[in-house]
C-alpha cells in the first residue's frame, strides 16, 4: 500500500475547528423549528453566497480532519469498493479518500452524522482485520479484504453481528461512488459525454430508439 500522504492541518487548528463544529451543531436547526421559528445554519460552512464559477478542492472551505491512519484505511477501503480495472483507475488514484475526508470533516448536519458512522466503521474495519488476520486492514491482501467485506456488503442479508458494519459499508460505498463518479475519470468510465456546447440536440441514437421499440411513439 503506498497511499500518498497528503499535507494535514495541524492538530490545534483541527481541535479548534471541531469545537466550533460541535458548538454550531448544538445550535443547528436540523430543520427543527424550535420555538416554531425557522432558523438558519450558522456553522462554519461555505456560507449562503459562495463564489460559484470556480473549481474547488477538498480543504478549501474547511480543514480536513482524518488522521493519517484513518486516511490510509479509507483509501484502502475505497479501492476495495472501486478498484482499478481496464476502463478506469481506482478510487484512491483519483483522490476519493480526499473527497471522503472533506465529507466527514464538513460542518453540515448530514455530514456530521456521516462522520460518526464512517469513523466508527473505519475503526471497526481495522479492529476486525486485527482480530481475524492480526494485521492492519491496509496491509491485508485482496482475498482477506474480500472475506471481510463479503460479510458486510449487503445489510439485508448480513448476519446479525455484522448488521451495523453493513450499514457503514453501504454508506461508505455510496460516498466512494459519489467521489469517484464525479471526477473526470469516473464520468468517462460510465460514458458521460455531455457538458459540452452543441449546435443541435439530436436526441438518443436512432438505432437505440428502434431497438427499444420507441420509433413509433
Amino acid at each position: 500500500m503506498n497511499t500518498p500522504e497528503l499535507p494535514r492541518i495541524d492538530r490545534r487548528t483541527a481541535i479548534k475547528w471541531m469545537l466550533t463544529a460541535s458548538a454550531s451543531l448544538a445550535l443547528a436547526p436540523h430543520i427543527s423549528f424550535g420555538e416554531h421559528v425557522a432558523t438558519v445554519f450558522d456553522g462554519a460552512g461555505y456560507g449562503t453566497d459562495p463564489l460559484l464559477n470556480k473549481s474547488y478542492k477538498p480543504g478549501d472551505f474547511w480543514p480536513l480532519t482524518l488522521t493519517p491512519a484513518q486516511r490510509q484505511t479509507v483509501a484502502a477501503l475505497c479501492d476495495v469498493v472501486i478498484p482499478a480495472d481496464a476502463k478506469s483507475p481506482s478510487a484512491s488514484a483519483v483522490g476519493v479518500h480526499d473527497f471522503i475526508d472533506e465529507w466527514v470533516s464538513a460542518p453540515y448536519p448530514v455530514q456530521v452524522s456521516d462522520r460518526k458512522l464512517i469513523l466508527e466503521g473505519i475503526e471497526w474495519i481495522e479492529a476486525e482485520s486485527q482480530r481475524r488476520f492480526g494485521i492492519h486492514f491496509v496491509n491485508t491482501i485482496a482475498r482477506q479484504k474480500t472475506v471481510l467485506c463479503d460479510d458486510i456488503c449487503y445489510e439485508p442479508e448480513a448476519r446479525e453481528e455484522f448488521k451495523e458494519a453493513a450499514k457503514f459499508f453501504a454508506r461508505f460505498r455510496d460516498l466512494t461512488a459519489a467521489g469517484f463518479y464525479t471526477t473526470p475519470q469516473g464520468m468517462k468510465d460510465v460514458g458521460y459525454i455531455g457538458n459540452v456546447p452543441l449546435g443541435s440536440f439530436d436526441g438518443p441514437p436512432p438505432e437505440v430508439i428502434k431497438r427499444l421499440g420507441l420509433d413509433e411513439v
Binding site: 423549528f33 445554519f41 445489510e155 440536440f201
Partner: protein
C-alpha cells in the same frame, strides 16, 4: 443603466416596484418600455448573470460533490443567493408543531429573485382554471377569463421565448402558431413514459419551458409587442440579438450566462434599463408602504441593508411584487390609523387563502434502459416532455375522489452528469456488489432510472394562511410571518392517485417502482410551500368584501397600490404559476399606464 443608492435615487418616481422577480421584472419592463420612470427595490444583492453563472463547472469541482447543504439547499451551483428554506436573520414561524401542518418558504435575496433558478416550466392556465368555482362549487372564480389573459400569454411567450408543441387539449390551450420555439427531441425515458403512459391513457406531449431553441426573432417580435413605439422596438430588438439559443449543456437551475432561458435578470431588466427609465436599488429591504391622510400610498420605507438605516422613496404608484407571502407581509406591516390591520385589508382577507401546488413523486428502475451506449442526455437542462391532466371527463362523471387535476413532470435524467446520489443505494438492484462487479453494475444501471413528479391543484381553504407573528421580528425589527397550513381530503386523495398512476406506468414498462417509504398520503404529500408555487394571500375578485384586489391586482382600498406577483391568484391551477404571474403583470402594467395617462393615478 442605473444602479442607484438611497443617496443617488431620484426623490420621486412614477412607479416604485418592490421585488425584481417574474412579477416585478415584467412590471418594470412593460412600464419602462412605455416611458414610465420606475424604481425597482430588491431586498437582495446585485447579481451579474454573465459573470457569476457556473456554466460548465462539474459536480466534482464543487465542495461535497455539489450536494445540497443548509447553506445551499438545492446544491452548490444552484442560482440562489442568501436564500433557501431559511434566510439568515429573516425567520418565519410555523403555528403548529405537527410536520404535516408545516409550511416551508423558499426565498432568494438576489436581483431577479427566484427566476434565476426556477424550472422554466411555462404552462398557460386553461379556460377552466379561471372559473373553478363555476365548475365544481369549490374555491373562487377569477374576475377574468382565459380570453382576457390569452393576449398577454402570447406577449409574454414572445418576449421571453418558450419552447413547446402545438397540441391543443382540453383545458391545455395551444399557443397561436409561430409563437413557441421548437421543442427539443425527447430522451429515451421520456419516450418510454410516452409509450407506456399512452397505453394507460396518459397523454405525454412536449413540455413548455422558457428556453429558446433558436435565435430570438428580433425583426418581427418587437413591433408586435410595442406597436407605435419605435424606440421600444429598437431597444428590444438590440437586446434580443444578444440572447443565444440553448447550446444543450449545463442545467437551467444554475442560470444561463448566454441568456438562453428566461430569468428576470437576463430578459426583463436589461432592455428596461436600456430605456433609461429604470433605476434599480438593491440591498433594500422594504419595511412599510407609507400613506397620506387620505389613505393614498405615498412611497416605500426600506432598510438600506448596507448601512442598516431606513430610507424612503416616493411614487405615484406602488407595485408590490415581493413574492406572494412577502407581499402579504409588507401589506400587513403597513399600518396606519386608516388601515389598522394592514394596508388594503378592510376585507380582513390579507394573508388568507395561501395555496401551494400539490406534489409527490416516485419513479423506477427500468431494465430496458440498462447497458445502453453513451449518449448525450443533457438537452435543454430540464424536461422535454410532460403529461397534462387528462381525466376531466372521469372527474365530471364523479369517478374520482378529489376535485381538480395534476400534470406529470417527467424526470428522465438518463445519462446526465453524475452527482453525489446518482449511484447511491444501488444495492437494491446489485445485492451489495463491490469491487469490479460494482463498477460493472454502475455502467449497467447508469441511465436506467426515471421519475415522475405530480403537480396538482390545491383548493384554497380557511386553514391555510399567514399572519404577522405577535413577537418574532427579523434582524431589522420587521415583524415576521406565522404560517398555518392544512391540506384537505382533495389534495390527500390526489397524491394517492398520483402515486398509483406512477406505479402503473413504471410497472407497465417492466420497471421496479422506487418511492418514499411512507404509506400514508398525509406523509408523502409535499409539505405546504415545498413545491415553491405559493400564491394567494391577497386574492383578486369582483366583490371588495370578498377579495383584496380587483382584476388588475389593484387594492380595492388603495387605488395606487398594485400586486403583480402570485398574491392575487384566487386559485392555483396545476399549471406552474410563473407564466401567469408575468401575463397578469403585463396586463396590470398596461392598465397602470392607461390610468396614469387618463389622470386617474
Amino acid at each position: 443603466m442605473a444602479f442607484v443608492t438611497p443617496e443617488t435615487a431620484r426623490k420621486d418616481y412614477d412607479v416604485v416596484i418592490v421585488g425584481s422577480g417574474a412579477g416585478g421584472g415584467q412590471t418594470a419592463y412593460t412600464l419602462c418600455m412605455e416611458g414610465a420612470k420606475v424604481l425597482l427595490l430588491e431586498a437582495g444583492r446585485n447579481y451579474d448573470v454573465a459573470k457569476e453563472t457556473p456554466m460548465f463547472q462539474t459536480n466534482g469541482e464543487a465542495p461535497l460533490g455539489g450536494t445540497g447543504t443548509p447553506d445551499k439547499h438545492f446544491g452548490f451551483h444552484d442560482a440562489t443567493v442568501d436564500g433557501g428554506w431559511a434566510v439568515p436573520g429573516e425567520p418565519y414561524v410555523s403555528a403548529s408543531d405537527d410536520p404535516r401542518q408545516r409550511f416551508m418558504w423558499w426565498r432568494s435575496r438576489m436581483l431577479g429573485g427566484r427566476t434565476n433558478h426556477w424550472g422554466r416550466i411555462s404552462l398557460r392556465n386553461g379556460p377552466y382554471d379561471f372559473k373553478p368555482h363555476s365548475r365544481d362549487g369549490l374555491g373562487f372564480d377569477w374576475p377574468i377569463s382565459y380570453e382576457d389573459v390569452a393576449p398577454y400569454y402570447d406577449k409574454v411567450e414572445m418576449l421571453i421565448g418558450v419552447y413547446g408543441g402545438d397540441e391543443d387539449l382540453e383545458n391545455t390551450p395551444a399557443s397561436p402558431k409561430g409563437i413557441l420555439h421548437p421543442p427539443p427531441k425527447p430522451r429515451l425515458g421520456e419516450l418510454m413514459i410516452k409509450k407506456y403512459g399512452g397505453k394507460l391513457g396518459v397523454p405525454v406531449i412536449a413540455a413548455h419551458r422558457a428556453v429558446i431553441t433558436k435565435p430570438m426573432d428580433h425583426v418581427n417580435i418587437p413591433p408586435k409587442l410595442h406597436p407605435n413605439n419605435p424606440r421600444a422596438q429598437r431597444i428590444l430588438a438590440e437586446d434580443m440579438k444578444k440572447r443565444a439559443a440553448c447550446f444543450w449543456a449545463t442545467p437551467c437551475g444554475r442560470g444561463c450566462s448566454i441568456r438562453a432561458n428566461y430569468q428576470s435578470t437576463t430578459v426583463h431588466l436589461p432592455p428596461a434599463m436600456d430605456t433609461g427609465n429604470l433605476d434599480i436599488l438593491t440591498d433594500a429591504m422594504a419595511r412599510e408602504i407609507t400613506q397620506d391622510e387620505n389613505g393614498k400610498a405615498t412611497g416605500v420605507t426600506f432598510v438600506d441593508k448596507r448601512t442598516g438605516r431606513d430610507a424612503h422613496v416616493r411614487g405615484r404608484i406602488i407595485v408590490v411584487a415581493a413574492s406572494a407571502c412577502e407581499s402579504v407581509r409588507l401589506l400587513l406591516n403597513s399600518k396606519s390609523t386608516r388601515f389598522a390591520n394592514g394596508l388594503g385589508n378592510s376585507s380582513g382577507l390579507v394573508g388568507k387563502y395561501i395555496m401551494d401546488t400539490v406534489g409527490t413523486s416516485s419513479g423506477g428502475q427500468i431494465p430496458a434502459l440498462e447497458n445502453l451506449p453513451p449518449m448525450n442526455d443533457d438537452g435543454a437542462g430540464g424536461m422535454h416532455l410532460y403529461a397534462p391532466w387528462w381525466l376531466y371527463k372521469e372527474q365530471l362523471a364523479g369517478k374520482l375522489d378529489f376535485a381538480r387535476g395534476y400534470h406529470i413532470e417527467i424526470g428522465s435524467p438518463g445519462k446526465q452528469m453524475p452527482g453525489v446520489n446518482t449511484f447511491a443505494g444501488l444495492e437494491f438492484a446489485t445485492k451489495g456488489s463491490y469491487g469490479r462487479k460494482f463498477k460493472e453494475d454502475v455502467r449497467r444501471y447508469y441511465g436506467s432510472f426515471i421519475s415522475m413528479g405530480g403537480r396538482g391543484e390545491m383548493i384554497p381553504n380557511e386553514k391555510s394562511f399567514c399572519e404577522l407573528d405577535p413577537k418574532v421580528k427579523d434582524k431589522w425589527g420587521i415583524p415576521v410571518l406565522r404560517f398555518h397550513w392544512e391540506w384537505s381530503e382533495h389534495e390527500i386523495n390526489q397524491v394517492a392517485h398520483m402515486r398509483q398512476t406512477f406505479a402503473e406506468i413504471v410497472e407497465s414498462m417492466g420497471g421496479t417502482v422506487r418511492r418514499s417509504p411512507h404509506t400514508d398520503p398525509r406523509d408523502y404529500i409535499a409539505k405546504g410551500g415545498e413545491i415553491i408555487h405559493e400564491v394567494g394571500g391577497a386574492i383578486m375578485g369582483a366583490d371588495p368584501r370578498k377579495s383584496v384586489t380587483n382584476q388588475w391586482g389593484q387594492l380595492w382600498d388603495v387605488k395606487n397600490v398594485f400586486l403583480t406577483d402570485g398574491a392575487p391568484f384566487p386559485s392555483n391551477a396545476d399549471k406552474n404559476p410563473t407564466l401567469t404571474i408575468m401575463a397578469l403583470a403585463w396586463r396590470a402594467a398596461d392598465y397602470m399606464l392607461d390610468e396614469m395617462k387618463k389622470g386617474n393615478l
